[in-house]
Amino acid sequence: GGGNAGGNAGGNGPSGEAKSDTGSPASPQTSSGAAVEKTGAKSDGGKVTVLILQDLDYLDPHLAVAAGTNEVLFNIFEGLLKPNEKGELLPALAASYTVSPDGLTYTFKLRDGVKFHNGQALTSADVKYSYSRLAGLDTGKPLQTSFDGVKSVEAPDASTVVITLKQNNSSFLTALTATVIPSGYQDSNKNPVGTGPFKYKQYTPGQQLVVEKFADYWQKGIPSLDQVTFKIITDSQAGLLALKSGEVDIYPRIGTEQLQEVAKDFNTISTPQNLVQLVTFNITRKPFNDVKVRQALNYAINKKEIIDGVALGKGTILGSNLSPVLAKYYQAGLENTYKTDLEKAKSLLKEAGYPDGFETTLSVPSNYKFHVDTAQVVVAQLEQIGVKVKIEPVEWAVWLDRIYKGRNYDTTIIGLDGKLDPFQILNKYLSDSPNNFFNYKNPEYDSTLRAAVVETDDAKRIELYKKAQTILTQDAAAIYIMDPNTNIALNKKLAGYKTYPLYVQDLTSVYFTK
């Protein structure tokens, strides 16, 4: 996720959970979506304006890194697989696939009759071109991390693709949602061409992206809408006004407060989004190198109060670095490990040699109000055990450079967006991970996670992942606060909106009611 991932976390962060359990991508009409309370008669066509909170970085889906871009491009592009509202991967451009027993070879049969927006039919050459590009097979530099384990991409015939991995990796499947573009197509950044339900129409930097219905979409009958405008409004207050005045129809990631304000006149959705908001420690620094200190701080925090204070109660308490949205891998019960207990906190501090507390700095990305708000509550709570925290707002660019990459900080607050695969979420804690900005080191954790990712047995893998979560909690590697809900406000006339445990806006299923 790009900068926005961390940032828009909170009232507005990745993903959600689909309440409906119907709905492979192939049967969108039947999906009621989480949004729909009352379903009016469906009326095809129409134009919808969706608010997005930031400008796009690239129109080329392979170059685009920002979550805010990918959420939009989700409507234009597709990969071999595509997630549904529960985060399950379903075949999309692939009609079916098989994985070799050693987990190294993936064979895909392509779906028939899929066309690109430019009219060209999809062939295995397109997939080969696209995935080789992502894996950097020519350049040696992969464009997406998830593709760096790819050894080769072959297209034995027009409808078959074979991908070979260097190593067994259970999380590789999620990478296959990566988008496919026409073979050799170089103009993606100016005029993107995909296979998705909507095709690119026009983009005005800083203002809007307009897409229109792709009539030749391989799933018949969808989308319902004729045109969707993604309007860039970076200011939440302005966004609210735009919503109220009817200038935008859908306001995803609307603030909780604002959601309540418009609840009367708009359809509203609020669901967990597979994001982990946490206070991290720079574990190599004193006093955070002492597990007792970290535990003391954990005991001092009242997560409920934070959720009430900054998310109006719309959030799920976390105990480790995984959201219950990923129910399959979620280790329940960890959230009770550090029940607020100031006495315990104080005595732990005393044991660690800080009877009077200490002073430290909490760096917060300044443009993310949710984190700044959280920081204020955290500061107030820690003060009760004598820990004096100074808030240091830092620009996002600085946060990335100095804190995330440079690991030069005491403590910070951030939202880590969830992936569909737990490995991709938990791998930041591996001692040699370049993104281990916690400076967390635990050989047991490393071996547990490494074992999990190569484990082919589902049940065993789940156990390993749960164990990894437990280790993090026991080590008090961070203060895991919450998975804040994502909120969406929609025009009352709209129905069929679906939420995902991913940072996407899917307009495919949305339709007007009469």
């Binding site: 207050q237 300044s366 500061v379 240091e392 707002p393």
Partner: protein, 267 residues
């Protein structure tokens, strides 16, 4: 008649604010940073005269303490600006020739650049916190002070009363500090009062853009920024800091006008 109204009103407003600020050093109804999430966004009432904010903090206490921030930002940035401007201005005015040319071109350059923009750039250089904000705003003010001082020095240097003491053998120190400075003091004070209100406006704008004073320290600009979300639901939250900014700026503007009028009348 009307002129003294300006001054009186200005002094009154500033005095009220100063009292509020001083009072807040010793007493606030609540601890300004104390949160009571359960009591968030309460409307004004007997318990909280100006209501509470989104963390249940007492708005009155926070705007009171916010006055400290405002006065600190105002005073300190004006002090930085005035001190810098005084140095640059006197040097330019007294030395003349190329020194003057160089310094004035530099201040022209700074002045040619719109205020907020410069503050924005400067704040990005430094870190967004109170002291850096003060420094940035202070730097912003330097050119205008330098100009006032320089033109005062130039104007008065050739004035007959200065030539007269030169005739008694007065040296540069006497001329600058004993003769000239007191005479341009009122224009410096006018500029200072005006800059003070500008400082508050700039701080508010920076806070609105998310730069500026760091939380949880209450600053009016920051509060205005935080209150945005609750505009419809808790208007008192936005009105209190907004009105205080307005009153403060008004007070200092009136004060500045009043001083200038008084000076004009005498001259």
């Amino acid at each position: 008649m009307k002129r003294s109204v300006n001054l009186t009103l200005g002094i009154t407003l500033v005095a009220i604010l100063a009292t509020l600020m001083l009072l807040s050093l010793f007493y606030t109804p609540y601890e300004p940073n104390a949160m009571r999430i359960a009591a968030r966004l309460q409307a004004p009432g007997p318990a909280h005269l100006l209501g509470t904010d989104n963390f249940g903090r007492d708005v009155l206490s926070r705007v009171m303490v916010g006055a400290q921030t405002a006065f600190l930002v105002g005073t300190a940035s004006v002090a930085v600006g005035a001190a810098g401007g005084l140095i640059v201005g006197t040097i330019a005015g007294y030395a003349g020739k190329w020194v003057d040319e160089l310094l004035m071109r530099a201040t022209d350059a700074l002045l040619a650049f719109p205020g907020i923009l410069l503050a924005l750039l400067l704040v990005s250089v430094f870190k967004p916190n109170l002291y850096q904000t003060i420094l940035a705003i202070g730097i912003l003010f330097m050119p205008s002070f330098a100009r006032v001082v320089r033109s005062g020095v130039l104007q008065h240097r050739e004035a007959e009363y200065v030539r007269a003491v030169q005739g008694f053998g007065a040296g540069p120190f006497n001329i600058l500090f004993v003769q000239i400075l007191p005479n341009i003091a009122s224009s410096i004070i006018t500029t200072a009062a005006l800059s003070f209100s500008t400082a508050i406006l700039i701080e508010a704008a920076l806070s609105y853009l998310g730069l500026g004073v760091q939380p949880p320290n209450p600053s009016w600009g920051r509060m205005l920024n935080e209150s945005q979300t609750y505009l419809a639901k808790a208007p008192w939250f936005t009105l209190a800091p907004g009105a205080l900014i307005t009153i403060t700026v008004l007070g200092f503007n009136l004060l500045s006008d009043g001083i200038r009028d008084a000076r004009d009348r005498r001259g």
